[in-house]
Amino acid sequence: MGTGRCTMAVEDGLYKLDHQLRMINGVADVATDFPNPHELHLIVALFDYDWDVRQLAIELVDDFAREHVQDVTVLVEVVDAAGASLPLSA
């Protein structure tokens, strides 16, 4: 995991985004990583792969990215929790 520190505005927005993502029925876990303070990697794991859930997650993340585009570049990946080999942190 990265060691970068993001701005307070991004941190606050990310806290809300994490909550919104976890409230989606079908989202199993959300992992975030800052390789540097201005780059955010988000991995959203679904219990079972569902296109509607994936679309909801992508839209939420993209809204966040648009809001904070001056501060951070956001990359998102949506994976199937059952088959995900990537480590996920709470």
Binding site: Y49, I58, A65, Q70, V74, E77, V79
Partner: protein, 132 residues
């Protein structure tokens, strides 16, 4: 690649490659499908005469000044997010995400029909269908 017409040619080439892959390798087909969308958006950047620093991004994600966080070199993802409507931005992000997943981690499930629909959203935005 420079110029709207050149980008549209490259987009069509990538789209043709995606169609070739779609039946046997639907997950890998998403990779050229995404690049087709990328060239479509770059064509749109030219059409809209975006500023020189935004018009021809050489990378997907922006390079930023580490001390200020300001964009030093724009990436296509952020240009799309900054300049274009939400439905275009989310479709583009979705295709980028699926392309990355296909290459490095978890391939998409199923036939990826929704990604092809998202490409169509971008295609219609850049090259509006004729009404005749």
């Amino acid at each position: 690649v420079s110029g709207e017409a050149d980008h549209l040619i490259r987009s069509n080439e990538a789209f043709a490659a995606a169609r070739l892959l779609r039946g046997a390798h639907p997950s890998w087909a998403v990779v050229p499908l995404f690049y087709s969308a990328m060239h479509l958006m770059h064509a749109r950047f030219d059409l809209d005469q975006l500023s020189a620093d935004q018009r021809h991004p050489g990378q997907h994600k922006s390079y930023r000044d580490p001390s200020t966080g300001q964009v030093a070199k724009w990436g296509t993802l952020d240009v799309v997010r900054t300049v274009y409507p939400r439905h275009i931005s989310s479709a583009y992000s979705s295709l980028f995400s699926a392309s990355t997943a296909a290459r490095y981690s978890a391939p998409i499930k199923g036939d990826g029909a929704r990604l092809w629909a998202e490409h169509q959203v971008i295609s219609d935005f850049v090259v509006p269908p004729t009404s005749s």
